[in-house]
Protein backbone atom coordinates (compact mmCIF):
# COMPACT_ATOMS: atom_id res chain seq x y z
CA UNK A 1 0.00 0.00 0.00
CA UNK A 2 1.38 3.37 -0.99
CA UNK A 3 1.71 6.23 1.47
CA UNK A 4 -1.40 8.33 1.15
CA UNK A 5 -1.14 11.82 -0.30
CA UNK A 6 -0.75 14.90 1.84
CA UNK A 7 -3.87 16.97 1.15
CA UNK A 8 -2.21 20.37 1.21
CA UNK A 9 0.50 19.31 -1.22
CA UNK A 10 -2.01 17.48 -3.41
CA UNK A 11 -4.23 20.56 -3.75
CA UNK A 12 -1.19 22.78 -4.36
CA UNK A 13 -0.43 20.46 -7.28
CA UNK A 14 -4.02 20.51 -8.54
CA UNK A 15 -4.23 24.29 -8.47
CA UNK A 16 -0.68 25.16 -9.54
CA UNK A 17 -0.83 27.81 -12.27
CA UNK A 18 -4.58 27.37 -12.67
CA UNK A 19 -4.96 29.65 -15.68
CA UNK A 20 -8.61 30.45 -16.26
CA UNK A 21 -9.93 27.50 -14.26
CA UNK A 22 -12.97 28.36 -12.13
CA UNK A 23 -12.86 26.71 -8.71
CA UNK A 24 -15.63 26.00 -6.21
CA UNK A 25 -14.39 24.54 -2.92
CA UNK A 26 -16.52 22.64 -0.43
CA UNK A 27 -16.69 23.73 3.19
CA UNK A 28 -13.99 22.77 5.63
CA UNK A 29 -10.59 21.52 4.66
CA UNK A 30 -11.12 21.72 0.89
CA UNK A 31 -11.68 25.46 1.28
CA UNK A 32 -8.55 25.80 3.44
CA UNK A 33 -6.51 23.78 0.94
CA UNK A 34 -7.75 25.82 -2.02
CA UNK A 35 -6.98 29.08 -0.25
CA UNK A 36 -3.54 27.86 0.79
CA UNK A 37 -2.76 27.02 -2.84
CA UNK A 38 -3.14 30.72 -3.67
CA UNK A 39 -6.10 33.01 -3.14
CA UNK A 40 -7.66 34.31 -6.37
CA UNK A 41 -10.92 35.88 -7.41
CA UNK A 42 -11.85 32.84 -9.49
CA UNK A 43 -11.97 30.67 -6.35
CA UNK A 44 -15.38 30.54 -4.69
CA UNK A 45 -14.90 29.19 -1.18
CA UNK A 46 -17.78 27.66 0.69
CA UNK A 47 -17.82 27.96 4.46
CA UNK A 48 -21.25 26.40 4.74
CA UNK A 49 -24.02 25.20 2.40
CA UNK A 50 -22.82 21.64 2.95
CA UNK A 51 -23.75 19.40 0.06
CA UNK A 52 -24.05 22.30 -2.36
CA UNK A 53 -20.61 22.47 -3.95
CA UNK A 54 -21.32 20.24 -6.95
CA UNK A 55 -24.57 22.05 -7.74
CA UNK A 56 -22.90 25.46 -7.57
CA UNK A 57 -20.35 24.05 -9.98
CA UNK A 58 -23.14 22.88 -12.28
CA UNK A 59 -24.91 26.24 -12.36
CA UNK A 60 -21.59 27.97 -12.97
CA UNK A 61 -20.57 25.55 -15.73
CA UNK A 62 -23.92 26.04 -17.47
CA UNK A 63 -23.52 29.82 -17.27
CA UNK A 64 -19.88 29.78 -18.44
CA UNK A 65 -19.67 27.14 -21.17
CA UNK A 66 -16.31 28.40 -22.43
CA UNK A 67 -14.63 28.02 -19.02
CA UNK A 68 -13.77 24.82 -17.17
CA UNK A 69 -15.15 24.48 -13.66
CA UNK A 70 -13.49 22.38 -10.94
CA UNK A 71 -15.43 21.49 -7.83
CA UNK A 72 -12.95 20.59 -5.11
CA UNK A 73 -14.53 19.09 -2.04
CA UNK A 74 -14.27 16.50 0.69
CA UNK A 75 -15.89 13.11 1.13
CA UNK A 76 -18.29 14.37 3.81
CA UNK A 77 -19.49 17.29 1.71
CA UNK A 78 -19.89 15.09 -1.36
CA UNK A 79 -21.79 12.47 0.63
CA UNK A 80 -24.31 15.07 1.80
CA UNK A 81 -25.12 15.96 -1.80
CA UNK A 82 -25.01 12.59 -3.54
CA UNK A 83 -28.11 13.38 -5.56
CA UNK A 84 -26.22 16.22 -7.20
CA UNK A 85 -23.96 13.67 -8.87
CA UNK A 86 -27.00 12.37 -10.74
CA UNK A 87 -28.31 15.86 -11.43
CA UNK A 88 -24.98 17.03 -12.82
CA UNK A 89 -24.34 13.89 -14.89
CA UNK A 90 -27.78 14.21 -16.47
CA UNK A 91 -26.77 17.57 -17.98
CA UNK A 92 -23.91 15.98 -19.95
CA UNK A 93 -21.59 18.99 -19.69
CA UNK A 94 -18.00 18.79 -20.88
CA UNK A 95 -16.74 21.68 -18.73
CA UNK A 96 -17.43 20.43 -15.20
CA UNK A 97 -15.07 18.28 -13.14
CA UNK A 98 -15.37 17.18 -9.54
CA UNK A 99 -12.45 16.17 -7.34
CA UNK A 100 -13.19 14.67 -3.95
CA UNK A 101 -10.43 14.75 -1.35
CA UNK A 102 -11.24 11.51 0.40
CA UNK A 103 -9.75 10.78 3.81
CA UNK A 104 -12.74 8.81 5.05
CA UNK A 105 -13.14 11.34 7.83
CA UNK A 106 -15.23 14.28 8.92
CA UNK A 107 -12.16 16.41 9.53
CA UNK A 108 -13.85 19.51 10.91
CA UNK A 109 -15.67 17.77 13.71
CA UNK A 110 -13.21 15.44 15.32
CA UNK A 111 -12.22 13.02 12.59
CA UNK A 112 -15.21 10.71 12.81
CA UNK A 113 -15.17 8.04 10.12
CA UNK A 114 -17.31 8.83 7.10
CA UNK A 115 -19.19 6.43 4.85
CA UNK A 116 -16.20 6.14 2.50
CA UNK A 117 -14.34 4.50 5.40
CA UNK A 118 -17.34 2.25 5.95
CA UNK A 119 -17.77 0.80 2.48
CA UNK A 120 -19.13 3.59 0.26
CA UNK A 121 -17.29 3.98 -3.06
CA UNK A 122 -17.80 7.49 -4.41
CA UNK A 123 -16.31 6.71 -7.84
CA UNK A 124 -18.69 3.78 -8.24
CA UNK A 125 -21.59 5.96 -7.11
CA UNK A 126 -20.59 8.60 -9.67
CA UNK A 127 -20.45 5.96 -12.40
CA UNK A 128 -23.85 4.75 -11.35
CA UNK A 129 -25.12 8.32 -11.59
CA UNK A 130 -23.94 8.58 -15.18
CA UNK A 131 -20.42 9.99 -14.94
CA UNK A 132 -18.65 8.25 -17.81
CA UNK A 133 -15.16 9.27 -16.73
CA UNK A 134 -14.09 8.55 -13.19
CA UNK A 135 -10.68 8.19 -11.59
CA UNK A 136 -9.24 7.15 -8.27
CA UNK A 137 -5.71 8.29 -7.44
CA UNK A 138 -3.67 7.62 -4.35
CA UNK A 139 -0.11 8.56 -5.31
CA UNK A 140 1.88 11.42 -6.80
CA UNK A 141 2.11 9.89 -10.27
CA UNK A 142 -1.64 9.40 -10.42
CA UNK A 143 -2.21 12.93 -9.21
CA UNK A 144 0.13 14.38 -11.84
CA UNK A 145 -1.77 12.54 -14.55
CA UNK A 146 -5.07 13.74 -13.15
CA UNK A 147 -4.26 17.47 -13.12
CA UNK A 148 -4.71 18.14 -16.86
CA UNK A 149 -7.83 15.98 -16.97
CA UNK A 150 -9.49 17.99 -14.20
CA UNK A 151 -8.89 21.14 -16.24
CA UNK A 152 -10.18 19.83 -19.56
CA UNK A 153 -12.48 16.87 -19.09
CA UNK A 154 -15.80 16.11 -17.41
CA UNK A 155 -14.22 13.77 -14.90
CA UNK A 156 -15.20 12.73 -11.39
CA UNK A 157 -12.09 11.94 -9.37
CA UNK A 158 -11.49 10.56 -5.92
CA UNK A 159 -8.14 11.58 -4.47
CA UNK A 160 -7.22 9.45 -1.50
CA UNK A 161 -5.47 11.58 1.07
CA UNK A 162 -3.98 10.95 4.49
CA UNK A 163 -6.27 11.85 7.40
CA UNK A 164 -3.71 14.21 8.97
CA UNK A 165 -4.94 17.77 9.33
CA UNK A 166 -2.50 20.45 8.14
CA UNK A 167 -2.49 23.85 9.87
CA UNK A 168 -5.62 25.87 9.14
CA UNK A 169 -5.38 28.35 6.31
CA UNK A 170 -8.35 30.67 6.35
CA UNK A 171 -9.27 32.33 3.04
CA UNK A 172 -11.87 35.13 2.92
CA UNK A 173 -15.24 34.07 4.35
CA UNK A 174 -17.50 37.02 3.61
CA UNK A 175 -19.84 35.50 1.06
CA UNK A 176 -20.88 38.79 -0.50
CA UNK A 177 -17.24 39.71 -1.03
CA UNK A 178 -16.45 36.32 -2.55
CA UNK A 179 -19.47 36.52 -4.85
CA UNK A 180 -18.77 40.09 -5.93
CA UNK A 181 -15.11 39.53 -6.77
CA UNK A 182 -15.86 36.27 -8.58
CA UNK A 183 -18.48 37.93 -10.79
CA UNK A 184 -16.24 40.92 -11.38
CA UNK A 185 -13.43 38.61 -12.52
CA UNK A 186 -15.85 37.13 -15.06
CA UNK A 187 -17.08 40.53 -16.16
CA UNK A 188 -20.51 39.66 -14.81
CA UNK A 189 -20.97 42.23 -12.21
Amino acid sequence: MSALLDRRRAVATLLHEPGDLLVVSGLGSATYDAGAAGDRAENFYLWGAMGGAAMIGLGLALAQPSRHVLVLTGDGEALMGLGALATAAAQRLDNLAIAVLDNGRFGETGGQRSHTALGADLAAIARGCGWERTAIVDDAAGLAALVPRLRREPVFAVIRIAPAEPPRFLPPRDGAHLCHRFRAALGAG
Binding site: L22, V24, F44, L46, G48, A49, M50, G51, G52, A53, A54, M55, I56, G57, L58, G59, L60, A61, L62, A63, Q64, G81, G83, A84, A86, T87, A90, Q91, G175, A176, L178, C179, H180, F182, R183, L186, G187, A188, G189
Partner: protein, 172 residues
Amino acid sequence: MTEAGWQDEVFEALKAANIRQVGYVPDAGHKRLIERAHEDASMRAVVLTTEEEGVALAAGAWLGGQRAVLLMQSSGVGNCINMLSLPVNCRMPLLMLVTMRGEWGEFNPWQVPMGRISQSVLALAGASVHRAEHPAEAAPMVAAAASLAFDSQIPVAVLLAQRLIGAKVFVQ
Protein backbone atom coordinates in the same frame (compact mmCIF):
# COMPACT_ATOMS: atom_id res chain seq x y z
CA MET B 1 -58.45 32.67 -17.76
CA THR B 2 -57.64 29.04 -18.43
CA GLU B 3 -55.07 27.19 -16.35
CA ALA B 4 -52.64 26.98 -19.24
CA GLY B 5 -53.25 30.68 -19.85
CA TRP B 6 -51.85 31.95 -16.57
CA GLN B 7 -49.04 29.41 -16.57
CA ASP B 8 -47.99 30.54 -20.05
CA GLU B 9 -48.06 34.12 -18.79
CA VAL B 10 -45.80 33.15 -15.90
CA PHE B 11 -43.43 31.53 -18.37
CA GLU B 12 -43.37 34.70 -20.46
CA ALA B 13 -42.61 36.70 -17.31
CA LEU B 14 -39.63 34.43 -16.64
CA LYS B 15 -38.45 34.88 -20.24
CA ALA B 16 -38.81 38.63 -19.95
CA ALA B 17 -36.71 38.51 -16.76
CA ASN B 18 -33.94 36.75 -18.75
CA ILE B 19 -34.13 33.53 -16.75
CA ARG B 20 -31.71 31.06 -18.34
CA GLN B 21 -31.64 28.13 -15.90
CA VAL B 22 -34.74 26.42 -14.54
CA GLY B 23 -34.11 24.00 -11.69
CA TYR B 24 -37.10 21.94 -10.70
CA VAL B 25 -38.43 19.09 -8.68
CA PRO B 26 -41.50 18.15 -10.69
CA ASP B 27 -44.92 19.16 -9.48
CA ALA B 28 -48.19 18.87 -11.31
CA GLY B 29 -48.78 22.56 -10.68
CA HIS B 30 -45.58 23.42 -12.56
CA LYS B 31 -46.19 20.96 -15.40
CA ARG B 32 -46.79 23.57 -18.07
CA LEU B 33 -43.84 25.72 -17.01
CA ILE B 34 -41.51 22.73 -17.02
CA GLU B 35 -42.65 21.75 -20.50
CA ARG B 36 -42.15 25.27 -21.80
CA ALA B 37 -38.69 25.51 -20.21
CA HIS B 38 -37.59 22.26 -21.84
CA GLU B 39 -38.88 23.46 -25.22
CA ASP B 40 -37.17 26.85 -25.06
CA ALA B 41 -33.72 27.00 -26.65
CA SER B 42 -32.66 29.95 -24.49
CA MET B 43 -33.33 28.07 -21.26
CA ARG B 44 -31.76 25.08 -19.59
CA ALA B 45 -34.20 23.00 -17.59
CA VAL B 46 -32.44 21.01 -14.86
CA VAL B 47 -34.30 18.24 -13.09
CA LEU B 48 -33.20 18.00 -9.45
CA THR B 49 -33.21 15.12 -7.01
CA THR B 50 -34.05 17.45 -4.12
CA GLU B 51 -34.98 21.10 -3.84
CA GLU B 52 -31.87 22.43 -2.10
CA GLU B 53 -29.91 21.46 -5.19
CA GLY B 54 -31.81 24.20 -6.96
CA VAL B 55 -30.76 26.83 -4.43
CA ALA B 56 -27.13 25.92 -5.07
CA LEU B 57 -27.70 25.74 -8.85
CA ALA B 58 -29.07 29.27 -8.80
CA ALA B 59 -26.05 30.45 -6.82
CA GLY B 60 -23.71 28.95 -9.39
CA ALA B 61 -25.69 30.49 -12.23
CA TRP B 62 -25.43 33.91 -10.59
CA LEU B 63 -21.68 33.49 -10.03
CA GLY B 64 -21.41 32.82 -13.75
CA GLY B 65 -23.57 35.76 -14.79
CA GLN B 66 -26.86 34.02 -15.46
CA ARG B 67 -30.26 34.11 -13.80
CA ALA B 68 -32.06 31.01 -12.56
CA VAL B 69 -35.42 30.10 -11.10
CA LEU B 70 -36.27 27.24 -8.74
CA LEU B 71 -39.62 25.50 -9.18
CA MET B 72 -40.87 23.35 -6.34
CA GLN B 73 -43.82 22.24 -4.28
CA SER B 74 -44.43 23.43 -0.73
CA SER B 75 -43.17 20.11 0.65
CA GLY B 76 -39.76 20.98 -0.80
CA VAL B 77 -39.41 24.23 1.12
CA GLY B 78 -38.23 22.39 4.21
CA ASN B 79 -35.47 20.74 2.22
CA CYS B 80 -34.02 24.14 1.34
CA ILE B 81 -33.58 25.72 4.75
CA ASN B 82 -29.84 25.37 5.34
CA MET B 83 -28.98 25.96 1.70
CA LEU B 84 -30.81 29.30 1.86
CA SER B 85 -27.87 30.51 3.96
CA LEU B 86 -25.96 30.54 0.67
CA PRO B 87 -27.85 33.37 -1.09
CA VAL B 88 -28.39 35.18 2.21
CA ASN B 89 -24.68 35.18 3.10
CA CYS B 90 -23.52 35.94 -0.42
CA ARG B 91 -26.16 38.59 -1.13
CA MET B 92 -27.25 36.64 -4.17
CA PRO B 93 -30.64 36.78 -5.82
CA LEU B 94 -32.85 33.71 -5.68
CA LEU B 95 -36.24 33.39 -7.35
CA MET B 96 -38.45 30.54 -6.16
CA LEU B 97 -41.91 29.58 -7.43
CA VAL B 98 -43.66 27.34 -4.92
CA THR B 99 -46.87 25.49 -5.73
CA MET B 100 -48.88 25.06 -2.55
CA ARG B 101 -50.33 21.84 -1.23
CA GLY B 102 -52.16 21.04 1.94
CA GLU B 103 -54.32 24.15 2.09
CA TRP B 104 -57.30 24.08 -0.31
CA GLY B 105 -59.32 20.90 -0.66
CA GLU B 106 -56.29 18.73 0.09
CA PHE B 107 -56.94 15.00 0.04
CA ASN B 108 -53.51 13.89 1.28
CA PRO B 109 -52.88 14.70 4.95
CA TRP B 110 -49.12 14.21 4.49
CA GLN B 111 -49.04 17.45 2.49
CA VAL B 112 -50.59 19.52 5.26
CA PRO B 113 -47.74 20.03 7.79
CA MET B 114 -45.23 21.54 5.35
CA GLY B 115 -47.93 23.42 3.47
CA ARG B 116 -48.96 25.16 6.68
CA ILE B 117 -45.47 26.38 7.53
CA SER B 118 -43.96 27.05 4.08
CA GLN B 119 -44.59 30.79 4.15
CA SER B 120 -43.22 31.21 7.69
CA VAL B 121 -40.21 29.00 7.02
CA LEU B 122 -39.26 30.94 3.92
CA ALA B 123 -39.61 34.24 5.76
CA LEU B 124 -37.56 32.97 8.72
CA ALA B 125 -34.85 31.77 6.34
CA GLY B 126 -34.54 35.26 4.90
CA ALA B 127 -36.77 35.25 1.82
CA SER B 128 -39.36 37.82 0.83
CA VAL B 129 -42.60 36.01 0.17
CA HIS B 130 -45.45 36.88 -2.20
CA ARG B 131 -48.60 34.84 -2.58
CA ALA B 132 -50.80 34.54 -5.67
CA GLU B 133 -54.40 33.48 -5.21
CA HIS B 134 -55.91 34.41 -8.57
CA PRO B 135 -54.89 33.68 -12.16
CA ALA B 136 -54.70 37.32 -13.20
CA GLU B 137 -52.14 38.20 -10.51
CA ALA B 138 -49.74 35.30 -11.00
CA ALA B 139 -47.65 36.60 -13.89
CA PRO B 140 -47.40 40.22 -12.68
CA MET B 141 -46.38 38.90 -9.27
CA VAL B 142 -43.67 36.68 -10.78
CA ALA B 143 -42.40 39.63 -12.80
CA ALA B 144 -42.27 41.82 -9.71
CA ALA B 145 -40.62 39.06 -7.70
CA ALA B 146 -37.96 38.63 -10.38
CA SER B 147 -37.21 42.35 -10.30
CA LEU B 148 -37.01 42.33 -6.52
CA ALA B 149 -34.77 39.26 -6.46
CA PHE B 150 -32.34 40.22 -9.19
CA ASP B 151 -32.24 43.98 -8.74
CA SER B 152 -32.12 43.96 -4.95
CA GLN B 153 -30.17 40.66 -4.78
CA ILE B 154 -32.26 38.85 -2.21
CA PRO B 155 -34.16 35.55 -2.08
CA VAL B 156 -37.79 35.93 -3.14
CA ALA B 157 -40.50 33.27 -3.20
CA VAL B 158 -43.84 33.38 -4.97
CA LEU B 159 -46.34 30.99 -3.46
CA LEU B 160 -48.90 29.79 -6.00
CA ALA B 161 -51.94 28.98 -3.90
CA GLN B 162 -53.54 25.57 -4.14
CA ARG B 163 -56.80 27.33 -4.92
CA LEU B 164 -55.08 28.75 -7.98
CA ILE B 165 -53.46 25.47 -9.02
CA GLY B 166 -56.53 23.37 -8.28
CA ALA B 167 -56.68 20.63 -5.68
CA LYS B 168 -55.15 17.36 -6.87
CA VAL B 169 -57.81 14.80 -7.68
CA PHE B 170 -56.93 11.39 -6.25
CA VAL B 171 -60.16 9.55 -6.93
CA GLN B 172 -61.82 10.20 -10.26
